[in-house]
Subunit: 244 residues, 2 copies
Amino acid sequence: MTIDDLRSGHEAGKERRRRAITKAARRLMQKTGRTGFSMRALAEEAGVSVATPYNLFGSKQAIMYAVLDADIEQYSGRLDQVDADELQIFFEAIKISTSRYATEPAFYKAVLFAVYSDGGKEYRAMFSGPRHAMWRRLVVAARDAGLLVKEVDPDAFALQLGRSFFASILEWVQDEQSIEELEAWAQYGFALLLAAMATPAAAPALRLKAIESQKQLGRLWRQRPKESGKPPIQNIQTVGSRGK
Amino acid sequence: MTIDDLRSGHEAGKERRRRAITKAARRLMQKTGRTGFSMRALAEEAGVSVATPYNLFGSKQAIMYAVLDADIEQYSGRLDQVDADELQIFFEAIKISTSRYATEPAFYKAVLFAVYSDGGKEYRAMFSGPRHAMWRRLVVAARDAGLLVKEVDPDAFALQLGRSFFASILEWVQDEQSIEELEAWAQYGFALLLAAMATPAAAPALRLKAIESQKQLGRLWRQRPKESGKPPIQNIQTVGSRGK
DNA sequence: CAAATATTTGCAACGCGTTATAAAGTGAAT
DNA sequence: ATTCACTTTATAACGCGTTGCAAATATTTG
């Protein structure tokens, strides 16, 4: 049911078509970015009917996850080759991701936006699949190395780290933040969270890193192209009713 | 240009219609929830043409923000009446929000979902408008009270707090988490972040609170109807294409 | 009052994600 | 080779957010 089907024609053909569609999806997203990626365009790019991706994946979001997973697969294991202590590795992980995003920003913005947006059921997979497992593994390693307190709950804490990183990525995807800003925000979030759960020996360095990240953010924020500061439609505020 | 127009007919009428539409929007969302709230349904509920909301607001998301802002206005200032120290007030703020969500979960899930998952330009307003100002004010107060270190950057740190809370809310909106879980997650995030920037005198209590929240989360996980103890770590298929 | 201007209305239209349907194509087993 | 189960294809359709446009309506101005 699982292995035989991959060898037999039906399931093998399905798998082949699945891969062809994810490849076409990636190609199309690189070409057109977020706006040009529609199911009808994907069908044409992949040379299939519009119904086929639905048969094979079920929804547009599922295709996005497949594209993202296929991409992550290429880079999995890269963190194991990094030589850093059990806390520094968190920040190396950020660097690996962001440097990857920098190579093809349009593609990553498109796929990450799609994955986040619409908030379907698959959203949770961002924090429950191999991504969560990676953060969890790092947390356990840091705890066992005596850099995080023993009381840390690896699951809860890893989830918090993943969310923090994801929130930073979200800002980069939606706003026109630079990769440097994304990196600084992610480092700031990690430094804060880790500092809170760090052992007394490891905490001061992390607090220092948090404060450094703050300064870096202030620097980047100041040199930003000045926006007028007001949101587009701001008429409906009438706040300031504090004193009743 | 601003005050006279509110008295004169054109702008006053626009404002009146704007309020009527946000009221209708709120009514419709309470009635139908997220799924039934369409622009055509809103137009019918408000007794206007489908083009009118676009004239007055510009987009569906803008209407959502207007609804949310109108709701927040009702509750603004409630935090000032709370008697708590400058750190405890962060957690009281969580409680005020979550208890509000508990009264009308369908409505808040609908509006928060729409607001959070739009990916548009107005997304940033969540972290730059009065919401950000509130967190920032609390941060400054805690710093001036000697509970947070002087080096804390109120803007960066408040943004981090807002994002953390936002991430927790997002989970509640999308998943079928309980309000208790939302509250525990939000408290956990706040406790961690605040502990990282707390002065030596204030830090231990926050770390304790973080660990308590962890335990509470573990307890809530375990008693979930879904599966036993751990968060859902099931893979999304990716049918065995690992070994090439 | 009438004239000028601003706004809403009704409606058609676009592209979107998604689904249903019947017809055509495919691989495996007899 | 023929049958059988399965899948893709083409196409139409639905409701969605959004826009454009001429006609109707409301408001300000003379």
